[in-house]
């Protein structure tokens, strides 16, 4: 579904990604793990068009999207839940969800997707008229995911959904991520610093280190890998 080949991305003179390649098959949950500065967020931002690749290519459903602007990438069904959630703080929950469906016009379909979002995150329905900025961190994360789902993604990219969220809510959110994948067959690309959690919910994993993929394989195998254990999983 998504193929990233030899991606190289620079911030000025500093290269953030040196050579990143990976593929995602439809229906899977893939995770990118790695420490701070490994290039996980940069990878997602480049896929969604916020950053430009210096070299390499990205193709989605067989089409080269390397040079497309973000709004055209969203239109193809590739939605990105950014790091730090980035909900529209002064807009209500309702308006945030409506913005998620910005490119869609079929009202009946939008309403159906909204119901689906509410079935996953009932909390959002209770908070409809509230400004998004007044929600708790966990609720904002639910809204950010809900907003992306409103765009009817084929592939959903999640950047650090556990960041800054009460531990109690983290497991809820990860359960929902699995549910979204199972019930709607939405392919998921998950970026996480919490490697344990990420490997637990995903099918396959790639390990990034300073802009290079250093390890890859089925998540269950990587969890048992002693090298990885020592580096990321706390022994």
């Amino acid at each position: 579904m998504l193929t990233v080949q030899n991606l190289e991305v620079c911030y000025g003179a500093i290269s953030a990604l040196r050579d990143v390649s990976f593929t995602i098959e439809a229906g899977r949950i893939i995770t990118l793990i790695g420490g701070n500065g490994a290039g996980k967020t940069t990878t997602l931002r480049t896929i969604s068009g916020l950053l430009r690749a210096k070299r390499g290519s990205i193709s989605f459903k067989g089409e080269d999207i390397t040079k497309l602007p973000p709004h055209q990438i969203v239109a193809r069904g590739l939605c990105h839940v950014p790091e730090g959630r980035m909900v529209f703080s002064n807009l209500t929950v309702d308006e945030n969800l409506a913005m998620g469906a910005y490119l869609l016009s079929d009202k009946a379909k939008i309403a159906a997707t909204r119901d689906y979002v509410f079935s996953i995150f009932p909390r959002l329905k209770e908070r409809l008229t509230q400004a998004a900025g007044t929600l708790s961190g966990g609720e904002q994360q639910m809204l950010a995911i809900g907003r992306a789902l409103m765009g009817e993604p084929k592939l959903l990219m999640l950047d650090e959904p556990s960041l800054g969220i009460a531990p109690k809510l983290i497991s809820t959110i990860f359960e929902k991520i699995v549910e979204i994948n199972k019930s709607h067959g939405i392919t998921i690309l998950l970026v996480e610093q919490n490697a344990n959690l990420a490997l637990e919910v995903s099918h396959d994993a790639y390990v990034l280190e300073t802009g290079v993929v250093v390890m890859k394989g089925p998540s269950a195998e990587l969890r048992a890998n002693p090298e990885l254990k020592a580096a990321y999983l706390g022994g």
Partner: protein, 296 residues
Amino acid sequence: MSEFLQQLLNGLSLGAIYALIALGYTMVYGVLRFINFAHSDVFMVGAFIGYYIGQKVPQNTIGGGLVVLLGAMLGCALLGMLIERLCYRPLRGAATLNVLITAIGVSLLLEYSGQVFFGATPRTFPSVFPSTNFAFGDLVISSNQVVVIVVTALLMVGLQLIVYRTKIGTAMRAVSLNPKAAQLVGVNNDVVISFTFGLGSALAGAGGILYALNYPSIDPLMGVMPGLKAFVAAVLGGIGNIPGAALGGLLLGTVETFVNGSQWSTYKDAIAFAILIIILLFRPAGLLGKVSVEKV
């Protein structure tokens, strides 16, 4: 008492014009975080478009007046979008200071091209709307003041509906809050920014006509002072805040008119800016603005 009401009325109709111009400053600041100094000259071009259309329409009629008003709004909307496309879009992602300097350049370009094309000599704006005075006891309301207040009120309601009830308006607010997140839900930020310039410039065009109706001597530098005052009004209300710009404009116009009618009339402009300084000392984010930390 009637003296007070009279001044209040005069003040509100002047303030309404400041408010219309201030809205353009504040909306553009909202989406691009810079002050479009060329905005005051779009206001001037609006008056000149009105001047030329005004030669062709029947004088002293509501219909003729509306044609002039809509023509100026449309012309200014196109001009604003053109300025954004040619001068500001190539600088997207550049430092704010670069864009700010460009804006000053565009402002000078419009002012002095205006002198080339329209001439530096002031011209008399035609009386396009019916002009009579209505007297209520001692209180005198000119029909042009009525036009100013009615048109401003309608435009503000319209703007409110666009910003809070339409998809593009919601997108404007979204881009203003978080441009990256807006892109990630599929908003083409360039389209929204262009729309914002068009909308703000149309209001400036309307402001130009309303100003010229009440102060019918127009010249290519006429935008400088009202533009500066409107900028003050926008900052006063809280830059980036739409109701704030409207409030700031009305407040500034009213204060200026009262000072003008007092023994300190010579200092009316000084007082306008003194108010700005004092309010900003106590409320740095403006009257309705929220103190926000610039995100890095």
